[in-house]
């Protein structure tokens, strides 16, 4: 009788007959057990051969596969060929690998699955060596896991400390804000006082001064306006010529992009097209629009046409300065004036409604004296400080509310970076920040995604002997999205899957799909957090220990 697990062995005790495990109605003479012909619909009569390996939902439907009904859900009663692996851990080999002429030492160190010696293959028992090596590594792993556990504790402590810091800071901010608010109130009072004092003075000064000063100002303003208009015209001409040149270049490039041959994969061409696409996709900033141009047209007309007659002001200065200065709308042509007036009114009321602008509909003084300005500046500064404190407070409160993983542990890793070399790049992950690809040959770094959050995913990987791998089970992963846009593809994104390790290190980086990356990263932060040692990159995996528990 070929090897079987002890728990299963009870089905094979009868020395005269065998009953299929899942189909007790089918009884076979004992000679049909392991006779390399599949009799049981569940394959249980061939625990030691590959005769029933085809009983699987992965095989094509076939009436002759056991029960007879086409497409029947054929499932094997046994998990595989049982390798005792004396001196090591027992394991199951898939039936598809039994007697195929290849020793599967990675699972079956005793070589028992090649008992038939097909093609002359001989698989000697290597369990002593393999088991010894495995135990050695396991010991190292356990030791490392112990250290890792300790490190996690340290990280958690550190995270707690950092949290405490934030909490403390929130508290102190509260006090600070209170103090600042009092200060603001005081300053408001001060401004009011100063203003009251200054009011009379302004009115007086305005009366005593000679009006002839306006004539000089107007002269200067006229000259200055002329200069500005000329400059504006010149700049506008330059702008127009640049714009048309730019448009021409853009036209050339878009034709180039449409007509180039993507199959040729010429790196130079691809790079150019890619750069063009990036460029084209970018916000190009303000475009020349008609309204803007109309404004410019109006502004570059002579002042007379704009309804401004300098002479009117040069000779006669009856009007108050304030009136002239505030009647700026009259500088504009009537058509714009109406439109602008309307818009300004709307804007103003919007701003006032939202409290951004003070309501100055009540007549206010035309200019503040230095002492008023100073007082106001002090007030503004004080207000800003309050604002700043409040913002910081919100940030800290948000920070406390954020998911930093179990025990808040990632708080301790925030912005720490680890990297690894793979191919022509160095890949880096900065915890809770972003992932980056850096070419070794030099050149720009590529953002592979910005951290957006944590999630839990199920992985099912073989664990390498050194334990540097994900293993199987639920793991914590960090999602990074919206990295740099990819040629002919999406924005880059990276999933950083974490498993327990003594130090922070990047184990593996793969581009799973175009510009969709997956990093496998070891960190003590996730040790022993999921289930009974799930997150711990431990010894589970292909060894039968786990499998046996399920039976």
């Amino acid at each position: 009788m070929k090897a079987k697990d002890k728990d299963i062995a009870k089905f094979y005790k009868d020395a005269t007959a065998f009953t299929c495990i899942s189909n007790p109605a089918t009884a076979l003479p004992i000679a049909r057990l392991n006779d390399d012909y599949c009799d049981c619909p569940d394959g249980s009569d061939e625990p030691g051969t590959s005769a029933c390996a085809h009983l699987s939902p992965l095989s094509p439907h076939n009436p002759a596969n056991g029960a007879g009904a086409a497409g029947s859900n054929t499932t094997l009663a046994l998990p595989g060929f049982y390798c005792k692996n004396k001196g090591h851990v027992p394991a199951y080999v898939p039936f598809t690998s039994v007697n195929d002429g290849k020793c599967d030492y990675d699972v079956c160190c005793d070589g028992s699955e090649e008992w038939e010696g097909v093609g002359g293959v001989k698989c000697e028992d290597r369990c002593q060596t393999i088991g010894k090596e495995w135990r050695k590594q396991d010991e190292a792993r356990q030791k490392s896991l112990g250290t890792a556990g300790k490190k996690r504790k340290e990280l958690v402590a550190e995270a707690g400390r950092l949290r405490k810091q934030v909490e403390d800071r929130i508290q102190s901010l509260g006090t600070e804000i209170e103090g600042s608010e009092i200060k603001v109130k005081q300053l408001e009072q001060e401004v009011a006082d100063v203003e009251r004092k200054e009011k009379g003075r302004v009115v007086k000064g305005s009366v005593s001064k000679k009006a002839g000063k306006l004539g000089v100002v107007v002269g200067l303003a006229k000259q200055r306006t002329e200069e500005l208009r000329e400059t504006l015209e010149r700049v506008r001409g330059e702008r127009d010529s640049s714009t048309s040149r730019l448009q021409e270049v853009e036209r050339i490039l878009s034709t180039f992009k449409e007509e180039y041959n993507p199959n040729f994969n010429d790196e130079g061409v691809k790079r150019a097209v890619r750069a063009w696409e990036d460029y084209a996709a970018r916000d190009k900033g303000p475009d020349v629009d008609a309204a803007h141009d109309r404004d410019l047209d109006a502004m570059t007309k002579s002042d007379k046409e704009n309804g401004l007659d300098w002479e009117e002001y040069e000779g006669d200065d009856d009007d108050s300065e304030a009136d002239v200065l505030y009647a700026f709308e009259s500088y504009l042509p009537p058509s714009i004036r109406g439109w602008l007036d309307q818009k300004l009114r709307n804007l103003r009321s919007t701003l006032i409604d939202s409290g951004i602008l003070a309501d100055t509909s009540a007549p206010s003084s035309s200019g503040d004296s230095k002492s008023v300005t100073d007082a106001k500046d002090r007030l503004t500064a004080a207000e800003k400080e309050v604002e700043k404190h409040r913002k910081t407070l919100t940030e800290h409160q948000d920070d406390l509310a954020k998911d930093f993983g179990p025990d808040d542990v990632f708080r301790a890793l925030k912005d720490q970076c680890v990297s690894t070399d793979a191919g022509e790049y160095t890949y880096e992950v900065c915890f809770l920040s972003k992932t980056t690809q850096k070419p070794k040959k030099g050149g720009g770094h590529t953002n592979m995604g910005n951290f957006v959050g944590l999630e839990r995913i199920v992985v099912d990987d073989e664990l390498p002997p050194n334990g540097k791998g994900l293993g199987s089970g639920e793991r914590i992963a960090m999602k990074h999205e919206n990295g740099q846009h990819c040629w002919n593809g999406p924005n880059r994104s990276t999933l950083v899957v974490l498993a327990c390790s003594e130090v922070n290190e990047v184990w593996r980086i793969v581009e799973e799909e175009k510009c969709v990356y997956r990093m496998e990263v070891g960190t003590p932060a996730v040790c022993e957090v999921l289930g009974g040692g799930g997150g711990r990159a431990g010894m589970e995996g292909k060894k039968a220990g786990g499998v046996r528990d399920e039976l």
Partner: protein, 987 residues
């Protein structure tokens, strides 16, 4: 104010962005038509079409070619003579030496040359160094046998005046009636004309003439002919005689006009097939316009046409100028041996029924017009009468398809590109983890260091040998790409040697030609050159191409050749190859010479002392008649959409009947991302491609089968395991192709040449001689297909034995998890049902035989088996059995099909010894008679060392009819050996 403007500007910018994106997404990538010529843009095609139009429209057209009767000689199967071409505008005649050879195989060959060029008595323009002769070495590359001359062929006085007749072929039933004036030939079988040459008078061989420089003012296009020939009735368009421009490239044409053309008619034949490779229906369409027809001829000019369009006569990557014509119970064919650019017009004419002869229906005649730019007029004629006869005769000439290694017909996993050696190892592990069988993983161009072939990128493929070792642990292979363009860069030993040894293709000035391809500036190895061939061989030695191991094989791509900056993405026609042949003369053969050099390089890569006894595997994209000897082909850069999946079936069927059956299409579609349904259906179809490879463009998402998710991964795995289970049947079909030229997947007409209704069917296929009939689903959302059953026979669903009966069209359910696959009654199908990780690991697995009983109650099938890798089979190391079930005696016999030999070779014995434990574990009999109900046992007797070794009983399990399903029975473990003689008695 600013704020207001700002928001407006943002809106504008947003709209612009939107526009940009729209432009981006509506940019439909498809074949760039303007990159490839139409007949009208190809001078000689236009001229010859115009010539044909003149001939057809002139009521008293007198073809200017006549055979000088006094020159005719016939000796030992060869007729020679001189055809005289009368010139239109002079009294001169041009002498054209004619050779008609009659081969023992029943094949006739007509060759027409031009005396002045043959003798080199011409002057080339532009001081060209090109060879003066018409290209006469195509046969050196394409023809490998079948040319022993007929001893029985004999001339007889023509019954008509002015003809010479030659009787030849089997029992003299073939006859060539050679008409002297105008020159033409009718090929008859049993007295009936089957193939006619120059029946329509389109024969045209553009003779050499010096260029007459005319005054400049005459040179306006469209006028010169009128001016020059103003006094004559017939004018010739000379505008493309001396040079020709297309897409900014000018062809200098130092030899002037030199095209050859001929009309070949197939009287009474409604269908013609062949002239691969085109993306269109198997039955060729008419090409002179009309509803649903093409307006351009079928073109053969090997080109890198990516994202090619469906249903088009446009040229593709390879050329097989072999055509078959089909009418009820008769197949004939022609092979136009010419390597230059070739166009083929197809028209059909239907004669109305003759009112005087009652009962005779009108018949359709297919006319074809073959036009090549240069070279000899060299045509082979096959008179059938069965499809198999024509293909075998063609294959004898051009060679039988290679018997591939077994892994080569299993599943190949490819992608442009697996990015690192670790990536390869990871895919390898994941396939095992998901229990998905595969044999080969592929590397596209990115594995190289800067596209320098024979190097590995040290960053990404640091350990190729370790990777190959891992693959070898489960008998898996690696295929790496090697293309013919060699990067023009300093310190690269390959290009240094190429240059210093002067082994590259030259430009028209005779200097090394430089063009643009993947690596940028490149040179092209000239494999026409024997020295280049030897040098190429040296490059693949394990010590030269470091990082390759015995399980590394090669993929030749871009060998049309593809030149990114060349005319029509290939080389200038006035480039010079070895022997100073112009590229125009050899273009369509170029890809094959490269494929050939690589094949021999793989043979030669081992050390002398362990001479490679392993069959090479080399995939090629470009091909010509004869490429089948060297490996597999695939249909190039297709697209991940349903029409491309649909088109793959007729395209591969067409390759099958063109003598190059080891063909496949990229599963999943190269460009674009297939939906999961499309991917699944494509795997189900791919399981019936002789060459079965999943492939994907570098810009597509990953799509290895295990990524599809359930239920797709499971369904794909079932399709893959079906392919693996049927590998013994596939391998047997390959062996049949290797020995007879028979297609591996066969169209309806081939299997049922008497069934006119089925001649055009090209969406279902038979697998070899197994009677397996598959109709892959190629439409989205389908839940069933119609299958055409041509014969009065029973067919059974492969998966549940549901019974159908022909002749009729039946509906077969095909939900996503089902492949419509039937078994024709009367066959025995060999299988190996145990799933393994790779085909190599199935070597010692037992067999299942499926006996499918039809109307007669008898059934038979064959199995060919060898080590699946070495050439030992050539020394007898194989098993070849015929299984025969006879209903009269209710017995199943296994007979030996190997030639009887008194002393089997050492290799034979060794092989049989290695297989001595491999048995038949199960015999399934489908559609068993009712009388078997209650039968419990069968009698098994084995023959050991030629003697019967007593009998024993094996259990029989009977299953009655359920609904529409046939009754069936299973013999439990008969234990008979696959390589032995035995008998199972069911009586």
């Amino acid at each position: 104010m600013l704020t207001l403007y700002e928001s407006q500007r943002r809106l504008t910018a947003f709209l612009l962005l939107l526009l940009t994106f729209c432009a981006y997404f509506t940019l439909v990538v498809s074949v760039k038509h303007e990159n490839f010529k139409t007949c009208d843009q190809s001078g000689f095609c236009k001229r010859n079409r115009a010539y044909a139009d003149t001939a057809s429209s002139t009521s008293l057209w007198q073809a200017p070619y006549s055979l000088d009767a006094s020159s005719v000689k016939f000796e030992q199967g060869i007729l020679t003579g001189t055809v005289l071409k009368k010139l239109i505008n002079s009294d001169e005649t041009v002498r054209l030496p004619l050779t008609i050879s009659f081969y023992e195989s029943g094949t006739a060959r007509v060759t027409l040359d031009e005396e002045r060029r043959q003798k080199g008595d011409i002057v080339l323009r532009h001081d060209s160094k090109a060879k003066k002769q018409r290209y006469n070495e195509a046969e050196k590359w394409a023809i490998v046998g079948g040319t022993s001359l007929s001893s029985g062929a004999a001339t007889s006085k023509g019954s008509e005046k002015g003809t010479t007749n030659v009787h030849y072929g089997p029992a003299g039933t073939f006859e060539a009636v050679i008409r002297h004036e105008p020159f033409g030939i009718d090929f008859k079988r049993d007295g009936v004309a089957q193939v006619k040459f120059n029946d329509k008078g389109f024969l045209n061989l553009e003779h050499w003439r010096p260029k007459v420089e005319k005054p400049a003012e005459d040179k306006k296009e469209g006028e010169e002919a009128v001016v020059a020939e103003s006094s004559k009735e017939v004018t010739e368009d000379q505008s493309t005689w001396w040079d020709e421009s297309f897409g900014g490239n000018t062809d200098s044409k130092p030899k002037g006009p030199e095209s050859v053309a001929l009309d070949i008619s197939f009287p009474g034949y409604q269908h013609v097939f062949g002239v691969a490779e085109h993306a269109g229906p198997l039955s060729l369409k008419e090409t002179r316009g009309g509803d649903g027809q093409y307006s351009d001829p079928y073109r053969l000019y090997n080109s890198d046409v990516f994202e090619y369009e469906m249903d088009s006569p446009m040229t593709l990557y390879g050329a097989i100028p072999f055509m078959q014509a089909q009418k009820k119970d008769s197949t004939v064919g022609v092979f136009w041996l010419n390597a230059a650019e070739t166009w083929i017009d197809v028209t059909k004419s239907t004669s109305s029924a003759n009112p005087l002869s009652l009962g005779i229906l009108g018949s359709t005649t297919t006319n074809t017009h073959w036009i090549s730019e240069s070279g000899l007029l060299d045509v082979f004629v096959f008179l059938g009468p069965k499809p198999q006869d024509v293909i075998t005769a063609y294959s004898e000439l051009t060679g039988f398809t290679q018997l591939p290694q077994q892994f080569a017909i299993a599943y190949h996993q490819c992608r442009w590109n697996y990015v690192t050696d670790e990536d390869v190892r990871d895919v390898d592990r994941k396939m095992d983890k998901h229990r998905i069988p595969y044999d080969v993983i592929w590397l596209d161009i990115e594995y190289t260091e800067g596209k320098k072939y024979f190097t590995w990128d040290p960053m990404t493929f640091a350990d190729p040998l370790g990777m190959e070792k891992q693959l070898d642990e489960h008998e898996r292979k690696l295929v790496a790409i090697i293309d013919p363009h060699i990067k023009n860069e300093g310190n690269y030993h390959v290009v240094d040697e190429l240059k210093s040894k002067d082994l590259a293709v030259h430009n028209k000035e005779g200097n090394i030609y430089e063009g643009w391809c993947w690596p940028g500036s490149s040179h092209w190895v000239d494999c026409f050159n024997p020295a280049a061939h030897s040098w190429w061989k040296s490059l693949f030695r394990y010590d030269k191409f470091k990082g390759t191991a015995k399980n590394t094989w090669i993929w030749n791509d871009m060998n049309e050749p593809s030149v990114f900056n060349g005319p029509e993405t290939t080389m200038p026609k006035d480039n010079l190859h070895y022997g100073n042949w112009e590229h125009r003369d050899v273009h369509n053969i170029n890809g094959m010479t490269f494929h050939n050099a690589t094949y021999h390089a793989i043979l030669a890569r081992d050390k002398e002392e362990d001479k490679n006894n392993v069959r090479p595997f080399v995939l090629t994209r470009s091909f010509y008649s004869g490429s089948q000897r060297l490996g597999a082909m695939w249909t190039g850069d297709n697209q991940a959409d349903w029409p491309h999946l649909e088109a793959s079936i007729p395209m591969i069927l067409s390759m099958g009947i063109s003598g190059f059956p080891f063909a496949g299409a990229d599963v999943g579609g190269f460009f674009g991302n297939p939906s999961k349904e499309l991917l699944t259906r494509w795997y189900q179809a791919g399981a019936f491609y002789p060459f079965f490879r999943g492939h994907a463009h570098i810009d597509t998402r990953r799509r290895e089968p295990y990524l599809a998710g359930e239920p797709y991964t499971q369904i794909i795995t079932q399709a893959l395991r079906l392919r693996y289970a049927l590998l013994p049947a596939w391998y047997t079909a390959f062996h049949e192709a290797h020995t007879t030229g028979a297609p591996i997947i066969r169209p309806n007409y081939y299997v049922h040449p008497g069934d006119e209704k089925g001649f055009a069917i090209d969406d279902q296929l038979y697998v070899g001689s197994t009677g397996l009939l598959a109709k892959p689903v190629t439409t989205e959302g389908a839940d069933g297909v119609d299958i055409y059953l041509a014969d009065k026979e029973k067919y059974f669903d492969y998966f549940d034995y549901w019974m159908y009966e022909g002749p009729t069209t039946v509906k077969v359910a095909a939900p996503l998890d089902t492949i419509p696959l039937l078994m024709q009654g009367g066959h025995i199908i060999p299988r190996r049902d145990r799933p393994r990780r790779s085909s190599g690991l199935m070597r010692y697995d037992p067999f299942t035989l499926v006996i499918v009983l039809g109307h007669s109650g008898d059934a038979n099938g064959t199995l060919y088996l060898d080590d699946g890798e070495s050439f030992d089979y050539e020394e007898g190391a194989y098993i070849h059995r015929l299984f025969e079930y006879t209903s009269a005696t209710a017995t199943l016999m296994s007979r030996d099909l190997t030639p009887a030999s008194s002393s089997p070779s050492k290799k034979t014995k060794e092989y049989l010894k290695s297989m001595e434990k491999v048995r038949v574990e199960k015999i399934i009999v489908v559609n068993v008679p009712e009388s078997w109900n209650g039968k419990k046992e069968v009698e098994v007797s084995e023959e050991l060392e030629g003697k019967s070794a007593g009998t024993r009983m094996a259990e029989l399990e009977w299953h009655g009819k359920v609904e529409g399903r046939a009754a069936w029975a299973v013999v439990r473990d008969p234990g008979v050996l696959i390589g032995g003689g035995w008998r199972v008695g069911f009586a």
